[in-house]
């Protein structure tokens, strides 16, 4: 009696999982990731001689490609082509992004403002999709790519009916734009994790990730506006200021200008003391 080793079984299983691309002009190069509703492969488009990200769906539907095709935005991975495999499964080819996933990319970014600027770019793409009636529903750092030139792209829009990812998924069962706001808040929390946050930024995160959807930002634009205001040293909607907060923020924002004015007053006083008439 002969035994097949685990390694061989594993290899056979992998071979069986490789989609049969006969009849298409794509050649699979390597498996990249398992996204929502399918597997993403790095493939070669033999017709145009370029590398593409090819997603083979677990189901026959082409809805995901149709959703993506509606979203032409610099922050959303564009779809080049769609098709169907011999076994009936649908696939679509996207631009292949040679970059880092956000969860890996952030290790090279130390400053909170730089990290928040990435969130702003994500917000732009998500707000664009919302304006076209498309919700993401599975926003998380693993679904954000940062390209070699700093471009930020939101991926994996095909989980409209899938449950999402614990930790980033809103607690409510109805998943509208505020569910994506929750996920964006969770992404901010991930990006600033372990850092000392000031009250306005903490308030932004808390408002975005409020358990009650009604207590969250009403849409992604409102969240983005608050992040932009925070980055500009302006008051944020999530954190009503006392007059002391306003003074502290003013001094913080115009620190050098305040130092210069105080220096002028001190010099004037010293001149009066030592050289006064």
């Amino acid at each position: 009696m002969s035994w097949i080793s685990d390694k061989k079984i594993q290899r056979l299983r992998q071979a069986a999982e490789v989609p049969d691309m006969t009849g298409t002009h794509y050649r699979l190069l390597e498996r990249v990731a398992h996204g929502g509703m399918g597997v993403v492969w790095l493939a070669l488009d033999e017709k145009l001689d370029r590398r593409v990200a090819l997603k083979v769906l677990d189901v026959a539907g082409e809805e995901e490609a149709r959703i993506l095709a509606k979203l032409e935005h610099p922050g959303i991975v564009p779809v080049h082509d769609t098709g169907r495999l011999a076994d009936g499964r649908a696939f679509y080819a996207m631009k292949y992004i040679e970059g880092d996933r956000l969860d890996r990319h952030v290790s090279g970014i130390t400053g909170v403002p730089e990290r928040l600027r990435i969130v702003l770019r994500i917000c732009e793409a998500v707000a664009f999709a919302h304006a076209r009636g498309v919700m993401h529903r599975d926003l998380k750092p693993e679904n954000i790519m940062v390209g070699p030139f700093g471009e930020v792209l939101v991926m994996d829009w095909g989980v409209a009916e899938v449950a999402g990812t614990p930790g980033y998924m809103a607690p409510e069962s109805t998943r509208d734009a505020r569910a994506d706001v929750y996920s964006l808040g969770a992404i901010i929390r991930f990006l600033v994790d372990g850092r000392q946050l000031d009250r306005p930024l903490r308030a932004i995160v808390e408002k975005a990730t409020a358990e009650d959807p009604a207590a969250r930002y009403k849409d992604v634009q409102a969240l983005a506006a608050d992040i932009a205001a925070y980055l500009d040293g302006l008051p944020v909607a999530a954190h009503p200021e006392t007059w002391m907060d306003s003074v502290a923020r003013f001094l913080q924002r115009h620190r050098l200008a305040v130092i210069l004015v105080v220096a002028y007053a001190v010099v004037r006083l010293l001149i009066h003391i030592f050289f006064g008439a």
Binding site: A257, L260, Y264, V267, R268, I271, H272, F274, F275, G276
Partner: protein, 121 residues
């Protein structure tokens, strides 16, 4: 606001205020008005130079240095003129704060003024 106009206006205003602050020493009078006028013109010229520099140079340090050095030079030229009443020269009074005004104009122009000729996105 264009950088040059911003720097000129700021220089003129801060220069005048700096001149008026001499009232702290001398009390209000013709002497202080003259000082305020001279100081305003001096800082206006410094502002013009700072503004033009800021149009061509992005480096904040260079813009601030130009403001400070030019203000000190002009302040020296003003301070070198003796007081017509007493014959005294007020180097510390004029150069001390005059240099700081140049520094403030340089800093504010580098930070807050918009660049000439840029098109809004």
């Amino acid at each position: 606001m264009k950088k040059v106009a911003y720097a000129v206006i700021l220089g003129a205003i801060l220069g005048a205020l700096d001149g008026f602050s001499a009232a702290y020493e001398f009390g209000f009078g013709t002497k202080v008005l003259t000082l305020a006028g001279l100081s305003s013109i001096k800082s206006l010229v410094v502002g013009l130079a700072v503004g033009i520099t800021a149009v061509y140079v992005r480096n904040k340090g260079v813009i601030i240095a130009v403001g400070t050095i030019l203000a000190l030079v002009f302040a020296y030229l003003v301070a070198a003129q003796p007081d017509p009443d007493t014959g005294e020269k007020y180097y510390a009074h004029i150069m001390g704060t005059g240099g700081l005004v140049g520094l403030i104009v340089g800093y504010a122009t580098a930070k807050y003024g918009e660049k000439t000729g840029t098109v809004g996105a």
